[in-house]
């Protein structure tokens, strides 16, 4: 992928990618940092992009990995416990974790922030960013069917959240 094509493709998705990061990490500054690092890594690797997946899938995958690294760094540096959940912790949604969250503007935004990362991310990739289950699997490095299950569970959990908090 040459320089101009990279920039053109990046321009098409940058707002959505940034929005995805903001809604995932819940902080615009941190999202901007992750976006910067993601773009840097992607640009540096652009010649290795062979079009085997879509540009969007490719750069979202880089963003996810970058985000995980940020989480790990935060966890290491600040003993931050809210790192990305592992597979075991994703075995079932945890509605009991639904506590407060009145700070977000919209009902769905609020509900999303109450959802575990392992469900929030696939849900947003599917219904905000419009990726297919196959693409979500590629982005997250999981099987297509696993991505499908996570989105299903996210729907169920979000529905429960919104039912319990209809404000």
């Amino acid at each position: 992928m040459d320089d101009m094509l990279f920039r053109s493709e990046y321009e098409k998705i940058s707002d959505h990618l940034y929005t995805f990061l903001v809604r995932t990490v819940g902080d615009r500054d941190r999202a901007a940092d992750i976006l910067q690092e993601t773009a840097f890594k992607a640009y540096r690797s652009r010649r290795r992009f062979k079009g085997e997946s879509s540009f969007k899938t490719w750069i979202y995958r880089i963003a996810i990995n970058t985000m995980k690294n940020h989480w790990l760094r935060l966890k290491r540096e600040r003993n931050w416990i809210e790192a990305m959940p592992d597979e075991e912790s994703l075995s079932s949604p945890s509605p009991e974790k639904i506590v407060t969250g009145k700070e977000n503007a919209s009902q769905l935004s609020r509900a999303l922030m109450l959802l575990e990362e392992g469900y929030r991310v696939p849900f947003m990739l599917k219904h905000v960013d419009g990726l297919s289950y196959k693409e979500i699997g590629e982005v997250l490095g999981i099987a297509e069917n696993a991505s499908r299950v996570r989105v299903y569970r996210a729907r169920h959990t979000l529905r429960n959240i919104l039912r319990e908090d209809p404000t």
Binding site: D3, D15, L17, V22, L35, Q36, A39, F40, Q107, L158
Partner: protein
Amino acid sequence: MRPFDKDLPDRYLDGELDPEEKTVFEERLLSEDHLRNYVEEVQALHASAASMEVFKAPGINLSRRVGLPWREMISGRVGPFLSGAALTACILIGIGLGRNVLDPKTVLTRTEPLKIVYYAPGARSVSVLGDFNGWSGEIPLKPRGEGGYWLAEIPVKPGEYRYILKIDGKERVGDPLADYVIDDDFGSKNSVVRIGL
């Protein structure tokens, strides 16, 4: 709901049922309140998700992994210097156009000719004025494709260079992709790049 079809509502919502399955499921929707409620609530959820606000991405700098300059340039030192459409354009696309990405440790050691790329859709002309030729004349950037990109390649010896960009012959703007920005002696700001140092 029968155990074997627990994913049926979600597959219906995703449009993944075959025509026969869909017909049967829609008949069930008419008679099974819990199914209908689920489908309607999740459809509303999807509609909300699709209409969520999209935030404008900040400009980025492809020649640096992380760091202050890209954000500071957009929001601080250069931001006030930019104006109107040019500012918007820079923030949208300010991603180090036309420059090779180097290792962050050697980011200031470019040896290629000075490339200036600016995103200014709708501009009639873009030119650069700088000390690489003694501020003795404007060098026009040429349109690159149809996407609003303007490009100039200026052969320079290794050194540090200051310049400004002019849009439509008058509007002076900073280059958000410069290495840094400094005040000049006339109350304005110069973009600065270092080549081959």
